[in-house]
Structures are given as structure tokens and as C-alpha cells.
Amino acid sequence: MTNPFAARLRRNAPAWPPDAGPAANLAGFAVKRMHAVAASFRKRGEPAGRSGLAALAFVLVGAASLPVAAAPIPLIQTNGPIALEQARLMRDALLLMAIVVLPVFVLAGTFVWRYRRSRQATYRPDWSFSLPLELAIWGIPTCIVIALGFLVWTRTHSLDPYAQAGPGSVLEVQAIATDWKWVFLYPGLGVATVNELVVPADRPFRIALTSDTVMNAFFIPGLGGQIFAMAGMRTQINLRATSPAEMWGRNMQFSGNGFYGQEFRVRVVGAQGFDAWRQHARAAGGQLTRAAYGALVKQQATAPVTTYARFDPGLFDEVIAKYRTEPHR
């Protein structure tokens, strides 16, 4: 059946995200993927640091379903130190947990096989306690949790989204979540975009976030990190991309009818490319005045990528202030 709303969304939908099309050669893809995984195990610390995770995922899903995988997996194609650290953390945690988890599979299989009734193996119906065993099953997980806890404490602090992502001068960006698109303001550059985030490679950037609608969650899978954007409030996320790339980000918190299309393009470009983009934006784009912004928000639809040469200064703070009533008594 037709869904007029969906049709409208499709008309507005930008021609991205830049995913590969359906794989022409599925078997070839699978081979390539396996090579990538194998290679990443040899080269620890390369950007392919999520290989352990990917390997686990493939085990989980089962080799039989492998050949149908045709998607580039952002968590393998991580870009930047934040995403890389997060991926390593995931891998380390998995390895630590394997110590207690793998024996479960082995023991379950062994015991089910050995002690099935028809096999008539040793039978000890009253055996129900063993101090060494009890100590082990309490002690070993406790040790692992202590190790994990140490990881959690240190990494949660080092990967705090509010902490600057590495050395260098920070590029400030402001993002406003609206129904159902993202407005990006570059206060230092004076330019603004809708549904496109352009950042220079190898330079930390900070996105200050708020929402001009319901609660949203800002997320760029390839760069790592996710944080809520809420009306009248200001959150922030600090990220960094290592090398030029095309990615996508989106709102992860359900926000109504256009939610599915609330994706934006992320372009990581070199330092020169970034200057070129800024000049291009300066020269070509229109103006995001308060009125234009108001009209954009009112539309309640997804929007194509748009660039603005300038925006009314203070727009971001005004959006926040709109929801905050200062005491007058």
C-alpha cells in the first residue's frame, strides 16, 4: 500500500549515505572481509582495531550467514582515536570475559553429553557442595570484575565526551536537532549547514548540542560516541577523525514520523580541503537568518544537504534560551 508520507520523505531524502551498493560478488566480499580480519590480528593497534569484535560477531552470527554480508561495517572502519579506543575497550573486555564465559559452553556441552541418563555415568545424587569450587566461582569472576572495573573507571574518564579529543586547536561546532534534520553552525567560520557535518582531519572538534524538538541522540558510528540533545539544555561531544573519509551520522532516539530519515552526511577532509570548503560555502550559500531557521524548523520534514554562507550569531543560544524561563519574581 502507498504511504503518502513516506513518498514525501523519499522525495526529500538525500542521495546518501555513501554505502556500497548491493555487493556484486558476495563470495568475493566475504573473502575480502576475512582477509581484513586476519590482517588486523597481525597488526595490532591499526585502525582496524575492532577486528576482535568483528570476529566475535561473525562467530555469533554463524559462518553460514557470512556470504550475505554486504555492508561496510562502521565499527571495523573506525576513524579517529575515540572510536579506536572504544573498539579496543570492547575487545579487551571481551577477552577478559572469555575467561569465565568459554568454560560455560565447554562444561555445558561436556556435562550434557557425559551425564545423560542413557549413558549411565557416575551418579552422585547428594553431591551439592565443594568449597574449592565455590571459592573459584565467586573468586574468579570477582577478579575479572575488578580488572574490568579498573578499565571502566580509567576509560570512562579518558573518553568522557566532554573532554577534548587530543591535542590541537579545537574546532567549535554547534548542532541543533530539529524535526527531522540536523542544523550545524560553525561559530568560528560563520558558515552553517543542514544535514552535513564537514570537519578537518586530524584536528579535534567539539560539537555543542541542543534540541529544538523532543529528545534526540547524536551519533556518528564511524567516529564513536553518542550523546543526547535536549531542549533548553546544552550537551557536548568531543571527537576527532584521523583521515579523510565519508561517513554518516544520525539521531538514535525515536522522535516521530520523520525519524528514519534524520541522518546527516559526515565529510572528513584535509586541512586544505577544509579551507576550500569554507570558502566555497562563503561564496555560494544563502543566509540562515532567524526567520529562515524558524521556517526550516516548522517544516517538520527531512531536508536535503544545504550550506549557508552565514547565520545569525547567537542562534544556538537563542534556541536554548527559548525553553528556559528566567525567574522574574
Binding site: 545423560r116 565467586w138 529528545m215 528514519y260
Partner: protein, 675 residues
């Protein structure tokens, strides 16, 4: 006069929704016609609806759960099919209808499937296991049932009149506030949850008082079957966690209906407080759902391994530790809200700490298998399937407990895969195991094992096929609650997930067939001894189904696995002598609880549609009915000692006949399996 209710409320916005409404209405009509044609109304009213007997109330709880499970499962099927075909297309569901589906699916599974399922199983089993004649407060028990049923009826009503919320089962404002969602949807959600929540609280109070006060003589706490321990712990969690939900939903209702500013975006409202309150309830709720299943697994694994459970004290301690710790982890549901690293890290670490007692339980169960004599009946299959599958969910749960890792998969389908990986093997499999295990005790005949096993295998394989791809998709960045998408690479995995749900559907069909076949063959499957599995706890010492008074003479307990030990000693069915029998009192049936449930339904329905006079009527009726009850006398019925004595003598004689030679044990224990 009728508030917001008008002809616009009919579901003409979507063919699928209209069809669902039609099926719901026709289903109700069909049941009414069937009952009328077969002249079953009086029977239904006298034997079931007005009953205050714990076993019957438990069975009605389970029936509510199974009916709602069918609906929620069909919704899951629709969601998966939609996502499988919705690459760059609208699929077959309008956007808003899809949002209603994921909201109702979640709300129903939690509040109207798992909660009534576990409440029902505790109802049936708990008094029998501790040697009590009923729960502490039989009438209150019926009120809990009928409030839950009223909530379920309200959700079903939303199929036909108006629309349900689109805000997800967690209903975050401001999306569910009056400005963004002015319709009746969130109000349906609020009231369904509130009614069910009050019903659950009532049940929890009842279970705690029962365990604390009505244990048989000699049944010390450390001799209680593990299912009772988990029931106790779950009840404590219910009693202390549900108030947070009640507050959250009530305040949201005040916001929506009377313009308060708790969770609004303006005028000093703070939507983060809703999220905080919701998960303040929501995390203990996870353990509320899982602990009774843990208890059931403990019973099942010991029984079908034919040996004592390993590490009883460990299991008890782990249960209580989980109970307390479950109140220290709720922030991990919103790590991404932006709390400072100290807060996030603290709650992350506490979440990992809770994994320790959970892991201990898994190992205790594993070592219960060790040197056992394993039988693989349906309940045991669910238990083994649970053990292996649950740890995968545990691993992904610990991953999610690491805040920086959570940032990369929060709100993605990885999260969906994780909590289904906890709740399906953890809670639902537990309830299926419990259902198959205790069905003969509650109803009097066993369930067909062959169809039960088929159901299990379809559920297990279907689970893996449906949810493992979601882990991968989550790592690819796929958001939850997407009704369409433009990433071609996702589609193959979503097709695989849909195939998984089709497998689960086959499992559901097997379970329906299992019920039918068992009913058809009930004479062959009858449980004549009351002890079909060579059971270990006291519930197997009484007949199946047990008489209204459960125990004519209350048993005196000397050890754990009380019934098993008495079988070993050859004293399973002792004759206490005529003098031990006294008159006892059982509660008379009462229709008032049913009436209170429906009065609450009227109140809630009127509040949803803002029909003031009707709401006042519903409220007044509820209050007056409670007062009326307090003025009633003669609410119990005396059963003379002679009746009890005759019944017990008859049962003992029947048991003698069943097993020649007067040896009235059976199963493996009787066949010389002991070394």
C-alpha cells in the same frame, strides 16, 4: 459528555490496524457466543472468575499472559517483516502504526506477558512449596489479578478505540508530553501501566507476607525451595521499585491532563527526571522478570539431573545480592545523557558487580548437572538452552555496562538484541520451563513432550537467527525503531532476522498444538500420582491438581528437598492418624474483586478519554466495593475434618493401588537408580 471520544477514534488509518481491531472484536464476540451456546457462563463465573483459590487465580494469570503473548508476538512478526522489506521503501505499515507496534510490543511483553506469567506461576507453586493452604490474602490476590486484567483490557481497547502511544515502551517525554503527543495514546500507555503496576504491587505484598508468615512448621528460610527464594526477592523488588513507576506515570499524566510542569521542556520542567524515575523502576524490573525464572530453572535442573542443586547457599546469597544491587545500576540505561565520568563509571562498575552473582548462579547450575542423571524433558531443554544462550546476553550486557562502549551501541539494535537475549532465554524460557514443569500440578495432566520439544527447538534456533544479526546491525550503527532505512547492506541481515521470527512462529504453533494434543490425550497423560517428574519439593507430595485446601494436615519439614528426602526414607505419604485432622476454613468465592477490576477499568478508560463523570463513577465504585467487602462477614467456608480425612485416606489407597507392593514411590528413585 463523552470527552474526547467520538467516531474518529475508530482505526481507519491503516488496513493492518483496522484488521487487528476487527480480529479483536470478533475474538471477543466468538468467546461470548461460545460460552452462551455451551451454557458455560455460570460455570465460568462460579468455578473461575470469582474464585479466590491461589491455583485458579494463578491459572487465570497465565491465561492472560498467553493471550497477550499471542498479540505481542504477532506484533513482533509485523515489525520484523516490515524491516526486512523496508529498504528504501515504505514497507506495508504506515509510519505511525509501526511506532504503535513497537510501543505495544514492548509494553505488552513486559507488563502483560512476563509479569502475569511469573505472578501466575508463583501463585500456583509458592503455597504448595512452602506447605501453605493458600496465599496470605486470597481476596487481595484476586484484586491483583483483576487489576492486571483491566490493564490488559485497556491495551486491547486501544486496538479498537483510538491509538496507542508511539513513544516506545519507555515513553520518554517530551515526546509523550501533551504538546507533541496530544492524542490518547500516551494516556492509554500511562493507565495500562499504572493498573498493572498496582496489581503487581498488591501481588508482591501478598507473596512477601505468605513467605514470611505461612511457611509450614520446620520450613526455615534456608530450607525453602529456591523458587520461593526468588519469589521472595522478586516480590521485594516489586514492592520497592514499582512506586517509582507509579510516580513517573502519574506525574506524566498530571503534565498531560492538567498542565503540570514535571517533564515539560519549559517552565522548569525536567524530562531527565522522568528518565531517571523510569529506570529507577526499570532496572529492578529486569530482575523482577528474571529472578523467578532463575528459581524455576533451579528446580528444573535439580529435578531432571536427579540430584541436589549445587551450592544452595550460594544461590540464595546470589539471589539476595542481585536483589539489592539491582537498585544501584539504573543509570546504565542512560549513560549517553551526559552525566559526568564519576557518575557513569560508578554505575558501570556496579553493573559489572551484579554480573558476579549472576555468573555464580550459572556455574552453580552447571555443577548441578555434574554427575547427575540427566533427563531431557521439555523443561530441561529450556533450562539447558537458557544456560548457553543467557551467557551471551550476559557478555553483551557487560559490554553495555562500559560507558564508552555503550556510547557506540546505545539506542542501536545491539541493545535490542541484548535485552531480548536476556528476556527471552532468561525470563520467557524460564516461564516456558515452569509452564511445562508445573502444568500437571496445576491442571492434572502432563503436556505432550514431543510437541513441547519441537516448540523448544524452533524457539531456540529462531531466537539465534532473529537476534544475532541484530548484534551485528547494531555495530553497523543501525538505530532501533526504524521503520525504513536507506542502507542496502542492512537488508540481508534483517531478512535473516525475519526468518528467525518465522522460526519462532513455528515454535509458537508447536506450543499451541502441544496444548491441543495434550488436552485431547489428557486421559493418557493424566498425572495420577501427583509426582510426574520424581519431584523434590512439597508441591509434588499432593495430588494433581491439589484439593482446595492443598494440605489437609500441614507437613512438618525436616530438610531441604523435603519431599525427596521423605521418599528416600519411604515416608512420602504418611498417615498422620484421624486425630491430626481439624476443621479448616477456605475463602468463599467473591465477585467483588472482579467488580473492582472492572471499576478500575472504567476509571482508567474515562481518564484516557477525559470523561469526568465516568471517571468519578469508576473511582466511587472501586472505593465503595472495598468498603462493602470490609462489612461482609462469613467470607470463609468450613471444611469438616472428616471430609479431609476421607479425602486423604482415599488418596493414600489410590496411591497403593497405582504402585503394586505398597511401594508408592516411582520414577528413577524407585527404579534403583541410586548407587
Amino acid at each position: 459528555m463523552w470527552g474526547r471520544l467520538s467516531a474518529d477514534a475508530l482505526p481507519v488509518y491503516s488496513i493492518v490496524a483496522a484488521a487487528a481491531a476487527g480480529i479483536a472484536v470478533l475474538g471477543v464476540l466468538a468467546v461470548i457466543v461460545l460460552l452462551t451456546v455451551t451454557h458455560r457462563w455460570t460455570w465460568l463465573w462460579r468455578e473461575w472468575l470469582t474464585s479466590l483459590n491461589h491455583r485458579r487465580i494463578g491459572i487465570m494469570y497465565v491465561i492472560v499472559a498467553l493471550v497477550m503473548l499471542l498479540r505481542a508476538f504477532i506484533e513482533a512478526l509485523l515489525i520484523r517483516v516490515q524491516q526486512a522489506i523496508a529498504y528504501d521503501s515504505g514497507g506495508f505499515l504506515p509510519t505511525e502504526h509501526f511506532a504503535q507496534l513497537f510501543t505495544t510490543h514492548g509494553s505488552i511483553m513486559i507488563f502483560f506477558v512476563l509479569m502475569p506469567f511469573l505472578t501466575g506461576m508463583i501463585n500456583v507453586v509458592l503455597p504448595l512449596q512452602i506447605g501453605a493452604r493458600d496465599l496470605a490474602f486470597p481476596w487481595l490476590n484476586a484484586i491483583g489479578l483483576w487489576l492486571t486484567t483491566a490493564g490488559a483490557a485497556l491495551v486491547m481497547t486501544s486496538l479498537v478505540l483510538g491509538r496507542f502511544s508511539t513513544g516506545g515502551w519507555s515513553g520518554y517525554p517530551n515526546y509523550t508530553g501533551a504538546i507533541v503527543s496530544p492524542g490518547v495514546g500516551p494516556d492509554y500507555w500511562i493507565w495500562a501501566l499504572t493498573l498493572a503496576g498496582i496489581g503487581s504491587t498488591v501481588a508482591g505484598i501478598n507473596f512477601i507476607a505468605t513467605i514470611w508468615k505461612l511457611r509450614a512448621p520446620g520450613m526455615t528460610l534456608m530450607r525453602m525451595p529456591l523458587f520461593c527464594w526468588t519469589a521472595l526477592c522478586t516480590s521485594l523488588l516489586i514492592v520497592f521499585a514499582f512506586p517509582a513507576l507509579t510516580v513517573a506515570t502519574s506525574l506524566l499524566w498530571l503534565d498531560r491532563t492538567f498542565g503540570f510542569h514535571f517533564f515539560t521542556q519549559t517552565d522548569g520542567g525536567n524530562m531527565m527526571q522522568f528518565v531517571n524515575l523510569f529506570w529507577l523502576w526499570g532496572h529492578p524490573e529486569v530482575y523482577i522478570l528474571i529472578l523467578p525464572a532463575f528459581g524455576a530453572f533451579s528446580e528444573v535442573i535439580a529435578t531432571f539431573s536427579q540430584k541436589k542443586v549445587f551450592g544452595y547457599a550460594s544461590l540464595v546469597f546470589a539471589t539476595m545480592a542481585i536483589g539489592v544491587l539491582s537498585f544501584t545500576v539504573w543509570l546504565h540505561h542512560f549513560f549517553t545523557m551526559g552525566a559526568s565520568p564519576n557518575v557513569n563509571a560508578f554505575f558501570g562498575i556496579m553493573t559489572m558487580v551484579i554480573a558476579v552473582p549472576t555468573g555464580v548462579k550459572v556455574y552453580d547450575w552447571l555443577f548441578t548437572l555434574y554427575r547427575g542423571r540427566l533427563r531431557f524433558d521439555t523443561p530441561m531443554l529450556y533450562a539447558i538452552g537458557f544456560l548457553v544462550t543467557f551467557v551471551i546476553g550476559g557478555v553483551t550486557g557487560v559490554l553495555l555496562a562500559i560507558p564508552p562502549v555503550d556510547y557506540t551501541v546505545h539506542n542501536s539494535v545491539f541493545l535490542i538484541a541484548h535485552f531480548h537475549n536476556m528476556l527471552i532465554p532468561g525470563s520467557l524460557f524460564g516461564m516456558f520451563a515452569a509452564f511445562n514443569f508445573w502444568f500437571p500440578k496445576a491442571v492434572g495432566f502432563r503436556l505432550d513432550d514431543a510437541w513441547g520439544r519441537r516448540g523448544f527447538w524452533f524457539w531456540l534456533t529462531g531466537f539465534y537467527a532473529a537476534f544475532m544479526p541484530l548484534y551485528l546491525l547494531g555495530m553497523m550503527g543501525m538505530s532501533r525503531r526504524l521503520e525504513r532505512y536507506s542502507h542496502p547492506g542492512w537488508q540481508p541481515w534483517l531478512v535473516l532476522a525475519a526468518f528467525g521470527v518465522v522460526l519462532i512462529a513455528a515454535g509458537v504453533v508447536c506450543q499451541v498444538i502441544q496444548l491441543y494434543v495434550s488436552w485431547r490425550d489428557r486421559e493418557a497423560l493424566r498425572d495420577a500420582t501427583g509426582d510426574p517428574w520424581d519431584g523434590r519439593a512439597l508441591e509434588w507430595s499432593v495430588a494433581s491438581p491439589p484439593p482446595e485446601w492443598n494440605f489437609a494436615v500441614r507437613p512438618r519439614v525436616r530438610s531441604r528437598d523435603a519431599f525427596h528426602e521423605s521418599k528416600v526414607e519411604g515416608l512420602a505419604y504418611p498417615d498422620p492418624g484421624r486425630d491430626a485432622y481439624r476443621d479448616i476454613f477456605v475463602p468463599r468465592n467473591s465477585g467483588l474483586a472482579v467488580a473492582i477490576g472492572w471499576a478500575a477499568y472504567v476509571l482508567a478508560f474515562a481518564a484516557v478519554w477525559r470523561i469526568g463523570w465516568l471517571a468519578a463513577l469508576g473511582l466511587a465504585a472501586s472505593v465503595l466495593l472495598v468498603i462493602w467487602r470490609s462489612f461482609q462477614t462469613g467470607t470463609t467456608e468450613r471444611i469438616p475434618a472428616q471430609t479431609l480425612y476421607d479425602y486423604d485416606r482415599g488418596r493414600r489407597e489410590a496411591l497403593m493401588r497405582l504402585v503394586p507392593g505398597g511401594e508408592i514411590m516411582h520414577g528413577a528413585a524407585a527404579s534403583g537408580a541410586r548407587p
